[in-house]
Symmetry: C2
Subunit: 596 residues, 2 copies
């Protein structure tokens, strides 16, 4: 049987309304219209679009892939039609600024829709996803003239955007880029160089493609402090803002990849292309980070999206496929064998997927609401506090959600057994598609370094306290609650170990930065598990209260059972991460480079 | 840069000669010729074959895949030629019985060669691998007439073999198979039914293909006690033993898979095909298990093979690719950036791969030598003891080595960053190829159940004691050795936890079999990590002694450093596995089937 997908609206509503109370968002200036009812109405429409338009072309898009011929990239069958439906329904302009024709809805809502899109069709989601990144960078850093010219078209989806960072010899280390931008007499620039791995760099979905390109001005300082950002359209808009003359940028080839085959990954050659500077000279990297941070969170949602789709496929199969009998005796004696969902090891895989997905959903939506608060709250201190938390959690959400997305895709395949390895069932595609999310927008190793090297030291641990203080207060407030002891007990112990690891790391890293580098990955993992344990405890509190008043007892009971599984069977992974994070850099650094 | 492969002969020699002392094998009756010198000479030739013949067609074989047209399967370009070279050099007959033209060399040697073949070209290795399985089943269970007719041709590789178990509706649960075998007047049978997932089921490498098929006789008992095994050749050999008339078996299609695309995975339709019974009526599953057990160990070697290839590719890339500077300051100041091998997180990935590979190599080769002892030792008690250990370790080697093979392939991709996702570099192929090893020959969940449900209870823990007693004695003997304390200390603690988990599991499983099922996977993982810690301690002992006498100090120093990394940074994973194995089935079984 082939994988299916239904947007998990019941769980989404639970998180948004009952755990996070998004009615708070409608109290923020500018978001008055974003009431809980509107959330639900928009999400129901988004669910239909994902289930009916995007999911049906996911497998076929993977089989066909993009094609490249004479500089032209064609997306797979159905993508143009689906994209047209997508933009006509306004899905690209959900969170766009009303000043430029957008709907001005909260980022939280966008987060949820991103999860659904990525469950349904990760490759498709790349196109509007990149446009949103370009939109944000232009909105934050470009001149009013550029905003007027580009934001409406990016917002309504008739044009799309890209982020052009990587070059053949450098990805993470952008200080080494060689693309040059030379000033012209008219205030524009001429951009020349080669960029690789450019998602949506060329395709047939939109009239125009707006590239945001990192390049160096003549005489720019060495390294990352000499990089500027340029807007380079594929077609230079004329005065009526229609796509005009073809600019000096061409697609040289597309990559043959492991997955997301319907997403065109392009080599772009810029040859004296006309560009406009975005932001200040030599400050391009900072401007690009506006896109990168949003993009990193969006990539985290890709991981969650794939994990959810894999879970749904796996549950369907585990109910349908029969093999053997329950260890305690036949549970379906009228069938020739029991469905495999009765087997403890199958349940372990399913429950691990589910507990991670639902925990990750709660964590990421929470951070979504904090983004809205950071942007719209009237009180600057509240905005700062929210932004601090978002900064802290960005590498964790990017790395952890993509790691579990990949792992969950693999658990899905495992439940299908040999059938999971066959393309027609759709499960192995999730594995191949998910794999990129651990690599792009900064590998997950880079995310871990960002957490320990940048986010922890910021303001002497100020960002960290935005998470530690509320968790500490929450545990203190709930520890006497007998109904929650299966949750608060393990949470408190794990949280205490996280504090211990944090203190140890801070101390050791001051003496030797390799200590931070060596501990980064297990530390991030441990942090994420504790964050999920916190969200699961909050969810358990809500579920317990709902059961007490008899509200949707079936849903909340399953939620509690899944939460208990998380605390007993998933959270213990932090013990190993703790031990490894505390073990120190000694053995990591002991080998000489030539001893490998 | 594309991945490369050199057989790790230095490390192989270390394990075979210095850790396991394979000169003991030449003392076994029948293996007198298998001296250490012969081992080395054969392995050097095998290395050349793998590096020069098989590895060069690995990537191209993946790109081209097998094709199916009008019932005919074609392997990718170069496979026929490579196979011809392979069999002409005698590689299929290494461990085959001299009575039927084989070379009669030890299984240990075969194990090592299998690792190399799977590093170089996993898909290619499937063809001789399946033949070896068929060879073993015929050698163990068939009549002399069948042996005379089939073993020489299977041994010299001019014919190949298959294992036909799975049907569309059942894989693991073979009691449900529907393929029927009706006796004919001449003592043969007529086999009818459909088998799926038949590796090497049809191809163009050999003159004939010998299928070993599970089927039911008329009136056979229900379930697994009513299954018989039949030999069904594609062409029925004539009296001169040349391939004669085409038999009633045809390939209906080949699967489109995630990986091992150069290995033909076939649907086989048997339609009144002439077959010969192998072994006793209704005892086919037992006979098939002769193949399965060998095949499971061989699949473990596939995992190790891929892990080794991934490590080599990743190290090459980590030395070559430059990005950023070492956290403690530039280590290669003459370059514009340091190679990424200086970064702690890159080292973590590389060292984890290496520590797992080298530990797994030692463990699996050890079990290889025990197979030779089990088959050839003059003393029955010694044979039994060796066989017990092999039985115990088979599910561990299959599941753990394939899990780490897949994980290591992914670590390799991670080190390549975005480049790892591009097909031309070859790293993502390792991920796709490795993924099948966790699924076939019994999923890794099934292996874990085999360990806790069959192997642990056998003889009231007799199999288990074959491992626990020597480890216990070893720790007791070495605990005073100050030079080894970085190894014996962590080993002793982890071993004690394994004993505790074993006792807890035995007790709980008696009351409720779901307890065994729920703990199986983390228990197997923990067991494997402790087994690797034991092998690492033994390797550290040897390396320490070699360094003391000044023998190849560079190699043995790197070995010690890698071993310390294992004990400090990898072994702690057993803490989580222990906690989860001890947590019990409660939360695993709590959800009703319809609550998922």
């Amino acid at each position: 049987m082939a994988a299916t997908y239904k947007a998990p609206l019941r769980d989404i509503r639970f998180v948004l309304h009952d755990v996070l109370d998004v009615s708070r968002i409608a109290e923020l200036p500018g978001y008055e219209d974003a009431t809980p009812d509107i959330f639900d109405a928009v999400l129901e429409e988004a669910a239909k679009m994902c289930e009916n338009e995007l999911f049906p072309i996911n497998r076929s898009g993977d089989e066909e892939g993009c094609t490249f011929e004479n500089g032209v990239v064609r997306t797979p069958a159905g993508f143009k039609e689906a994209y047209k439906t997508f933009i006509e329904a306004g899905w690209t302009s959900i969170a766009a600024d009303p000043k430029y024709g957008g709907q001005g809805l909260p980022k939280t809502l966008n987060f949820v829709i991103e999860e659904m899109i990525c469950s349904a069709n990760l490759a498709f989601g790349m196109y509007p996803g990149l446009s949103a990144g370009a939109y944000n960078a232009i909105a934050a850093h470009a001149t009013d003239e550029l905003k007027q010219r580009y934001l409406p078209k990016l917002g309504d989806g008739s044009w799309s955007g890209t982020m052009c960072l990587t070059e053949p010899h450098c990805g993470t280390d952008l200080g080494l880029i060689r693309t040059r931008a030379v000033p012209a007499d008219d205030g524009t620039f001429r951009v020349t160089g080669t960029k690789i791995f450019i998602s949506a760099g060329e395709h047939d979905l939109t009239e125009n493609i707006i590239h945001l390109v990192l390049a160096k001005l003549p005489g720019a300082p060495e390294g990352t402090r000499g990089i500027s950002l340029f807007l380079v359209p594929k077609f230079i808009p004329d005065d009526q803002n229609a796509s005009g003359a073809r600019n000096g940028v061409a697609c040289g080839s597309i990559e043959h990849k492991m997955g997301i085959k319907a997403s065109a990954t392009c080599v772009l050659n810029f040859d004296d292309a006309v560009g406009w500077m975005v932001g200040e000279p030599h400050r391009g990297l900072q401007a690009m980070f506006t896109m990168m941070n949003v993009a990193r969170l969006a990539v985290g949602m890709q991981g969650l999206g794939i994990g959810e789709a894999a879970y749904q496929g796996a549950v369907d199969y585990a109910r349908d496929r029969t093999s053997g009998r329950a260890l305690t005796g036949a549970k379906y004696p009228d069938q020739s064998a029991d469905p495999i969902i009765v087997h403890p090891d199958v349940r372990r895989n399913l429950l691990t997927m589910r507990a991670l997905n639902e925990g990750a959903r709660a964590l990421s939506y929470w951070i979504g609401t904090e983004i809205d608060i950071a942007h719209h709250h009237p009180d600057p201190a509240t905005r700062q506090a929210a932004d601090d938390l978002v900064q802290l959690m960005t590498p964790i959400i990017k790395a952890f959600l993509t790691d579990i997305g990949f792992d969950n895709a693999n658990r899905g395949v495992q439940i299908y057994g040999g059938h999971g390895y066959i393309r027609e069932h759709g499960m192995e595609q999730y594995v191949r598609d998910a794999r990129i999310t651990q690599l792009y927008e900064g590998t997950n190793g880079i995310q871990a370094l960002d957490l320990v090297g940048r986010k922890l030291p910021t303001g002497m641990g100020r960002l960290l306290r935005r998470f530690f203080h509320p968790v500490d207060a929450y545990i203190a407030g709930k520890k006497g609650d007998a109904a929650l002891k299966d949750f608060t007990g393990p949470l408190a112990k794990a949280f205490q170990r996280l504090q211990q690891a944090t203190a140890g790391l801070a101390q050791k890293a001051m003496a030797n930065p390799d200590e931070a580098g060596a501990a980064a990955t297990p530390y991030l993992r441990m942090f994420a598990l504790v964050a999920l344990a916190y969200m699961w405890t909050r969810m358990a509190e809500v579920a317990t209260a709902k059961i007490a008043v008899g509200e949707d007892v079936a849903f909340h009971t399953a939620k509690l059972k899944t939460g208990r599984y998380f605390m007993e069977q998933v959270l213990p992974e932090h013990l190993s991460a703790f031990a490894v994070a505390m073990a120190g850099a000694r053995t990591v650094m002991a080998l000489d480079d030539d001893e490998f």
